[in-house]
Structures are given as structure tokens and as C-alpha cells.
């Protein structure tokens, strides 16, 4: 189909009255044609303004509670029907985190640094696409103290409001706890408490967080001892 042919069909595609095969053709064309997508967006705006003009009425106030109550019942009934569904999703996510943590820990043991960038790019993208994420970003910790303090941080930026970060550290001789803080270099002074490291007798420590917040702005991590001493830091970059 040419752009002219597609544009003639766009209103019907938008309004859902186009036959299956033609609709499929239009969808295919749209995926590869920015010009027609722009036209589609303009027509969508037209539909939205038409809706505002033609049928924007204030509903009775009690309808709000009725709809939200109905949704709550729907969610409850879905849980009753599929009791393991939500748990499975969480277990799946946790398993993914643990698996990646295990891989990183192994890498740490073997090479003493995480180097996701060296992974095969295609595999990396496959993993990313499977998880539905934007990017993995990594940083290698640099010690700010006299004794060895090495490790890495991995941030996973999600498209789905489910970002997470992992910090793995090996610092023989260090004991007690340390605070992990993510910060942004954009000058905003924004920080996020990424958890607490609790050092094992051999100096290993790890912490991780899962958040619905956007971690994209954070590109620096610092690890601070309980007495305020900065133990290590790292810049975080795209893997």
C-alpha cells in the first residue's frame, strides 16, 4: 500500500471499522512510516476533540465509588480464580533478580569486577527484551579507603515501573554496616537510599532494591560507613 492509500483508510482504521486484511495492511504500513504515523496522531487528536465536544458530561458523584468498588471486586475475584497468579509473578521477578545476582556474584569471584559490557550484545538485548526493560547500567566501585574495597553496582531501568538495583561488595577487613546511596550528576541534589550493606566476616556484602520509581536519572553510587566515612563510589554507565 502507498502512503496515499493508507491515509485514505486511516480514519476507518482509527474508528475500528476497517476490515481485517486491510486493517492489517494499514498496521504494517504504520509500523514503518513515520509520516503516516504523524497523520494518524493528528486524526486521533481530532477524535479526542470531537469526543470533548460531543459528549463530555459530568457523571453523578456516586459513580466514582461504584466504578472503583466494581474494580476492587473484579481484582478480588481474579485472585480467587487464579490464587497463584500474583505470587507467581513476584516469585518470577525475585527469581530473575536472584539469578542475575548469582551470575554477578560469580563474575565478582572470578574477575573481581562486573563487566556486563563484554557480554554478547545480542544476548544482552534478548535478556533486556524478555524482561521488558530499557537498559542495564553498571558501575565498578573505586575504593576511597586504604584497604581493598571492590565490587560493582548494576541498575536495571524498567519500562514497566519495576526498576531495580544490586550492589555487591568484597572488602576483607571491613565489618559493620554501610549505607548505599544513589545520586544524580545533574546538579539536582536528588538522592535515593539504595539500602544497607551488612558485611560478613569475610568482608562480603550485598544489597538490592526494587522500586516503581524511575532510576534513570541516577548515575553515581556512594557507600558510606556508619561513622560517615566514604568507603567507595562508582559512576554508573550503560552496559
Amino acid at each position: 500500500m502507498t502512503c496515499d492509500e493508507v491515509r485514505e483508510l486511516l480514519p476507518e482504521h482509527l474508528l475500528g471499522t476497517l476490515d481485517g486484511p486491510e486493517d492489517l495492511e494499514v498496521r504494517r504500513h504504520l509500523r514503518g512510516c513515520a509520516g503516516c504515523r504523524t497523520e494518524m496522531a493528528a486524526l486521533s487528536e481530532g477524535v479526542e476533540w470531537f469526543a470533548r465536544a460531543a459528549h463530555d458530561r459530568t457523571p453523578p458523584p456516586e459513580l466514582h465509588d461504584r466504578v472503583l468498588t466494581t474494580l476492587a471486586q473484579e481484582w478480588r475475584d481474579t485472585d480467587a480464580e487464579h490464587p497463584d497468579a500474583r505470587r507467581t509473578r513476584w516469585v518470577g521477578r525475585a527469581a530473575a533478580v536472584v539469578a542475575i545476582a548469582a551470575v554477578l556474584a560469580w563474575g565478582l569471584t572470578q574477575t573481581h569486577r562486573a563487566n556486563v559490557a563484554s557480554a554478547d550484545a545480542e544476548s544482552y538485548r534478548t535478556v533486556l527484551n524478555t524482561l521488558g526493560g530499557k537498559e542495564f547500567r553498571v558501575g565498578t566501585l573505586a575504593s576511597h579507603v586504604a584497604h581493598p574495597f571492590e565490587g560493582s553496582v548494576v541498575l536495571y531501568d524498567s519500562h514497566q515501573g519495576q526498576s531495580w538495583g544490586i550492589v555487591l561488595v568484597r572488602a576483607p577487613g571491613v565489618s559493620g554496616k554501610a549505607t548505599v546511596t544513589l545520586s544524580s550528576s545533574d546538579g539536582s541534589g536528588t538522592t535515593v537510599d539504595a539500602g544497607t550493606l551488612e558485611f560478613q566476616p569475610d568482608g562480603d556484602a550485598a544489597t538490592w532494591l526494587v522500586t516503581s520509581s524511575d532510576l534513570t536519572p541516577f548515575d553515581h553510587v556512594t557507600i558510606t560507613a556508619e561513622d560517615g566515612t566514604m568507603l567507595a563510589s562508582a559512576d554508573i554507565e550503560v552496559a
Binding site: 471499522t17 496522531a41 481530532g46 453523578p60 474494580l71
Partner: protein
């Protein structure tokens, strides 16, 4: 923390899919009035319009994880889900009326106007009304038949007694002209 940017449609739908009540409330605040108004216009009663809002939100939740931002704007998607449900409700009414006639029982006359008639008498909200004036009567009629009636361009052409190409052009031009007119309205505000 820095001030957050407005939440994207995709992120909002993801939160809704995860059953977050605040996301449901945000969606309700954004769309309930238009869905309710659509119900009033197409189905002709407050009760039917309220049912339409409820049914639409349930359907939106059941398909929330299928919303794809790259394939279209959330507002358009929500409106078309609601419109599709309203058309289904109208079809059910027609089938019910026919089955009553078949059984030989006196049909309960549906005094409520059909979508095409309702569309023609739709009460427009003030600002958008003036934008609607940018449309010719023919463009508006074609758009209302397609939007409220779910008519294809061929059906619009038949009902209006015009070539199909003309019907397509009227609908497309109506949408684009409405968008331009609203953009001018916003610039003048």
C-alpha cells in the same frame, strides 16, 4: 527528590494493570466524563450511561496489559473501547426488540433515539462547540455516523447518498479540521 515529570500513559496503564487503586482513580478522573457523556448521547439514559462507564473500566482493566503506547494514544483507545461497548449495547437492544416481535408480544417501544439521531442532537460543551463550527454540516454528519453509529465509509456513503471516496474525505477532513480548530482555540485562550 526532584519534581517528577507527568506520568506517561503507558506507565499509568501498567499501574492500573497491577491493580493500583490510585491509578484507577486517575483514569476515572481523566475519562469518566467523556464515557458517561458518550453513554448519554448513544444510549439515552443516565442508568445506561453509568453502566457504560462501569463496563468500560472493567474492560480497560482486563485489557490493560495489552495497551501499547506505540500504537496509539490512551485517550483514543479508551474512547473507542467505550464506543464499542455502547454499540454492542445498542445491538443487544435491537436483538431484544426483534425477539419480542417474533414472539408476538407487543414490543416495548424504545423511545430512546438511535445513535445517528442522538448524534445529530448531541449537546456540545461550550469551547469545543465553537471548534465544531469549523466543520461543514456534511463533514459533521459523516463523522457522527462513523463515530456514534460505527458505520463504515461505505455505509456512510450509502446513507448520505454520496460516493464512498467523498464519505472518506469528509470524515478525514472533519477530524483534521477539528484538530486545527481546537489548536486555534487553545492559542486564543
Amino acid at each position: 527528590m526532584r519534581a517528577r515529570e507527568p506520568e506517561s500513559d503507558a506507565a499509568l496503564m501498567q499501574r492500573f494493570a497491577r491493580r493500583e487503586a490510585p491509578a484507577a482513580a486517575v483514569l476515572y478522573g481523566r475519562f469518566a466524563s467523556r464515557i458517561y457523556g458518550l453513554g448519554i448521547v448513544m444510549l439515552g439514559s443516565d442508568a445506561a450511561a453509568q453502566d457504560l462507564v462501569q463496563d468500560t473500566f472493567v474492560k480497560l482493566w482486563r485489557s490493560a496489559d495489552r495497551y501499547d503506547e506505540s500504537r496509539g494514544r490512551l485517550e483514543t483507545w479508551v474512547l473507542l473501547v467505550a464506543r464499542s461497548l455502547a454499540i454492542d449495547a445498542l445491538r443487544r437492544r435491537v436483538l431484544e426488540a426483534r425477539s419480542l416481535e417474533t414472539l408476538g408480544r407487543p414490543p416495548e417501544a424504545d423511545q430512546r433515539p438511535q445513535p445517528d439521531e442522538l448524534a445529530a442532537t448531541a449537546d456540545m460543551s461550550a469551547r469545543a462547540r465553537s471548534a465544531m463550527e469549523a466543520l461543514s454540516g456534511e463533514q459533521r454528519a459523516a463523522l457522527e455516523l462513523a463515530y456514534f453509529g460505527g458505520k463504515t465509509s461505505a455505509e456512510v456513503a450509502e446513507m448520505e447518498g454520496i460516493p464512498i471516496g467523498t464519505a472518506k474525505t469528509r470524515i478525514r477532513t472533519a477530524l483534521l479540521r477539528l484538530r486545527e480548530a481546537m489548536a486555534e482555540e487553545q492559542r486564543d485562550m
